[in-house]
Amino acid sequence: MAGLDSLYQELILDHSKRRVGAADLAGTVEPPHSATSHQRNPVCGDEITLRATLAGGSDDDDGEVVSDVAWEGLGCSISQASASMLTELARGASTAEVARLTEGFREAMRSKGKLALDEEVFGDAAALSGVSRFTARVKCAMLAWVALEDAVRRAHPSAG
């Protein structure tokens, strides 16, 4: 079960229950400078709805930050933990930083165990490094990240 524990680290099981940022979005009104993205994992059918709110910044991203992330969704522990960890990481980060983090996360997830996430940079989400060796679960870990990427794009002034 050593392999299994490398996937389901304590932090993951923990976050999958804490679910930082989990909220009841249905029926709430989207605040200004927000956008919502709905993503679905085609393998399992699980879904996430994630809302990102931006603050500050101008046309050219300078100083633009993700002021809030909230999401709702059902899915496996990996997907729930990943959404929770991402929320912690992204809240208050600049959109440029979030884009960089997402790129790095994606690269690590696709690396089949070759790249590990740096805890200094990724915080708790670094515990998801082990997922990349379980190719069938990579989409679980990516789900929230793809949703945030999409929501930020939509919320961005120039997208309107």
């Binding site: 389901y8 393998v43 399992c44 059918g45 699980d46 059902l74 496996c76 379980f134």
Partner: protein, 443 residues
């Protein structure tokens, strides 16, 4: 099957006697011996099947029905011999058996054929026969809530193209079909009744003959009855003509045979009346730039190069299955199936936090296949923990979203058996499963 006498004294079938015939079953997964309980998704193939295909490819392989040369003639004989063997497997005559690339293709064949008829492309001389089965505006296609997407989406799209409505016979909490609802749903507006013999989630054997006679009465003989036999073919002896359905399909890869091949059985009058679906070579008599005339069935439905080596290998799978049956007796095999089914279900029932999808009462015929969910743990996490112990089960919606919705969930885990499944397999699975909830801290 219910007529089979069960006597305790009879020599039991021990699947360990056949396990060595299946090379894949010997692999290790995560350092553990593989416990393969995903046969409902795809079965493993015995060496006899692999050898039959290879030997065909090394000594006879060539295009069938087309060449005059010796290899082509030999290949054609093996291919048509395979048709006879596979037809025999389901009690049919060779001319009632159409090769397909699988059950999905077979169900699409029927739906698109009716769609073509709806667009006026009927078979000369058979217009009246087919017209009854063609759904139009105001007509119904009746399915069940338990259908695999393969026996649902083709009908949804056909209905969308023709203006008909798809209606579904409900499933009761215990996994059996609501036959009263069925009787109420079927009417003279019902052009097609499509249902599965055994759902790939519930494992319950549906009462085919009863549904067929219900359909005959309630629709005034109108409805075409279409049976999805994907999950019965691997578990039960089949006599499709005796079941009375008009059309039935199954896949080779679920009955110890290869991928890429399946079969559609049809009553002779039905096949004669259905217009072609896939179009191309080897299914025509004359082609001009104005139009084409088509061969009689089964060739009418077999356009282009067929899965020849796969058909030969599927026949080898049938022969293998028959040899095992001859050796141990049909009764012993059925008894073993039931024993596995019981062990699986009772083991699951006895475990806290486990809910069976469709826990049919004693007396309802079932096969050794059971989906379940685990309270507080997502199905994929369940599957992952089992995998770490070498146990392969299927997790997800199993291509049956409406059924999962009906049971208030989006995903489940499923364990399913085949000829080579042992009681030990079930026990290792149950043991591994018993640790899942505590692993995730929900028990």
């Amino acid at each position: 099957m219910s007529a089979t006498p069960l006597t305790a004294e009879k020599t039991a079938f021990d699947p360990r006697a056949v396990r060595d015939d299946f090379p894949l079953l010997g692999v290790e997964v995560n350092g553990e011996p593989l416990v393969y309980l995903d046969s409902a998704a795809t079965s493993q193939r015995p060496r006899a099947v692999l050898d039959a295909e290879r030997s065909f490819l090394e000594t006879v392989n060539s295009a069938v029905h087309r060449g005059a040369h010796t290899l082509a003639a030999e290949a054609t004989e093996l291919f048509e011999g395979a048709r006879e063997t596979v037809a025999g497997f389901v009690g049919a005559r060779p001319e009632q058996l159409v090769w397909t690339s699988g059950a999905t293709a077979g169900l699409n064949l029927v739906a698109y054929s009716l769609g073509n008829a709806a667009a006026g492309r009927t078979v000369p001389g058979h217009e009246d026969a087919v017209r009854r089965w063609v759904p139009g505006p105001g007509d119904d296609v009746v399915v069940t809530e338990a259908e695999h997407h393969a026996n649902l989406v083709p009908w949804l799209e056909l209905a969308a193209r023709t203006g008909a409505t798809v209606r579904a016979i409900g499933v009761r909490d215990d996994g059996t079909l609501d036959l009263e609802a069925a009787a109420a749903l079927l009417s003279e507006r019902t052009a097609v009744l499509a249902f599965s013999h055994v759902s790939n989630v519930l494992g319950v054997v549906n009462p085919v003959e009863q549904l067929v006679s219900l359909a005959r009465e309630a629709t005034g003989g109108r409805a075409l009855t279409v049976l999805d036999a994907c999950q019965s073919a691997p578990h039960l002896p089949l006599d499709l003509p005796a079941l009375g359905v008009d059309v039935a399909v199954f896949s080779g890869h679920k009955v110890l045979g290869p991928n890429g091949v399946g079969a559609l059985y049809g009553r002779a009058e039905v096949l004669q009346a259905l217009p072609p679906f896939l179009l191309g070579g080897s299914m025509i008599t004359t082609v001009t730039l104005e139009g084409a005339d088509y061969l009689p069935p089964p060739q009418r439905f077999e356009a282009g190069t067929q899965p020849v080596s796969q058909a030969v290998a599927l026949a080898a799978a049938v022969d293998y299955q028959r040899a095992v049956t001859d050796r141990f007796g049909a009764t012993a095999l059925l008894e073993h199936e039931r024993a596995l089914e019981r062990r699986l279900r009772e083991g699951l029932r006895g475990m806290p936090g486990i809910r069976l999808l469709g826990d049919a009462p004693e007396g309802v015929e079932r096969v050794a296949l059971q989906a379940f969910d685990v309270d507080g743990v997502h199905a994929h996490d369940v599957g992952q923990v089992l995998d770490a112990r070498g146990v392969a089960v299927r997790v997800g919606h199993h291509c049956a979203q409406p059924l999962h919705r009906r049971f208030g969930t989006t995903a489940s885990a499923r364990a399913s058996a085949a000829l080579y499944t042992t009681e030990d397999d079930v026990d290792v699975f149950l043991d591994a499963l018993s640790g899942v909830r505590s692993y995730f801290g929900v028990a």
